[in-house]
């Protein structure tokens, strides 16, 4: 499974949204209805899945689906 597909699955599981909602341009808060606890859980789930440590400052920049995908791609090469 590609990084993109894995991230998409995490977002779907965590936020209870469907695959077609998880577009690259979708904002977690505005489009996918995430609250602050959701965002924290999302970060933790990605850290777990990809064995990453995402610091708070970096995490706050991950606003859209594409941000999360490119962050993971960049840090798992």
């Amino acid at each position: 499974m590609s990084v993109e597909a894995k991230v998409q699955k995490i977002i779907m599981d965590q936020l209870g949204v469907s695959a077609d909602e998880v577009k690259p341009e979708a904002s977690f808060v505005e489009d996918l209805g995430a609250d602050s606890l959701d965002l924290t859980e999302l970060i933790m789930a990605m850290e777990e899945e990809f064995s990453l440590e995402i610091d708070d400052e970096e995490a706050q920049k991950l606003l859209k689906v594409k941000d999360a995908v490119s962050y993971v791609e960049k840090h798992t090469e």
């Binding site: 609250d35 606890l37 859980e41 933790m44």
Partner: protein
């Protein structure tokens, strides 16, 4: 995946209030995990007694103030092996002395166990409970966290802090259907209070409107209620179980 067992975790459950809470939760049908810091034999006996009575219980050594140990414990024993629904932060110690002669280490160790320990366990449990979208956290505070007590600046500060922790956590987790409440016992007959001089006990009794000391069962009943489905709309509260000492 096999069906996981509905579980309640009670810290500091080898004796006294914690043991009684564990017994009550076991009777209510939960598998109970009891943790202890030093009284291994007593904790094992407590777990065995629950099993002998037909309940499910296991005892584990855990220093709640050690974040690494707590994290490991949750990872190896709780996360994938149980269906954790209830956390009771009961573990607590005292190291009494008047403030002007209180040692730094006596202040620190009480805060570390009674307040930080609850924070650490709550953090680990909350990560599980928010995913589960349902859960109960009950913190065992104390009347002295509400009133203050001479000779217990450290313990009073820790228990008052625990009440603040309860209220903040309640707000953070409410959106995930996880309630967080505190029970504030008054004078309960346990090893902790048995150590007090008779004259002090007589003094306390004069200030208890119900004219008797409480039993661990009195506290356990309150915990059982807050942990039950019946208390689903109650969060961020402090339920005083103190015979009317302070309302």
């Amino acid at each position: 995946m096999s069906e996981k067992t509905l579980t309640a975790l009670v810290t500091g459950a080898s004796r006294g209030i914690g043991k009684c809470i564990a017994e009550s939760l076991a009777k209510a049908g939960y598998q109970v995990y009891l943790t202890y810091a030093s009284k291994a034999a007593e904790a094992e006996t407590a777990a065995e007694d629950i099993r002998a009575a037909g309940g499910k219980a296991r005892a584990f050594h855990l220093d709640v103030s050690d974040a690494h140990s707590v994290k490991d414990f949750f990872a190896t024993e709780i996360k994938d092996k149980t269906d954790l629904h209830i956390l009771v932060n009961n573990a607590g110690i005292t190291a009494d002395s008047l403030l002007i002669s209180m040692k730094d280490e006596d202040f620190d160790k009480v805060l570390d166990v009674d307040l930080k320990g609850a924070f650490i366990c709550t953090r680990e449990a909350a990560r599980i409970l928010i995913r589960r979208r349902s859960g109960r956290i009950v913190n065992i505070a104390s009347v002295v966290g509400q009133t203050g007590n001479a000779g217990q600046a450290n313990y009073s500060a820790a228990k008052a802090g625990l009440i603040g922790l309860t209220k903040a956590t309640a707000k953070e987790l409410a959106g995930r259907n996880v309630t967080v409440n505190a029970v504030a016992p008054g004078f309960i007959e346990t090893d902790m209070t048995r150590a007090l001089p008779e004259s002090a006990k007589a003094q306390y009794l004069m200030n208890i409107p119900l004219k008797r000391f409480g039993a661990p069962e009195d506290v356990a009943e309150a915990v059982l209620f807050l942990a039950s489905d019946k208390a689903g709309y109650i969060t961020g509260q402090v339920l005083a179980v103190n015979g009317g000492m302070y309302c």
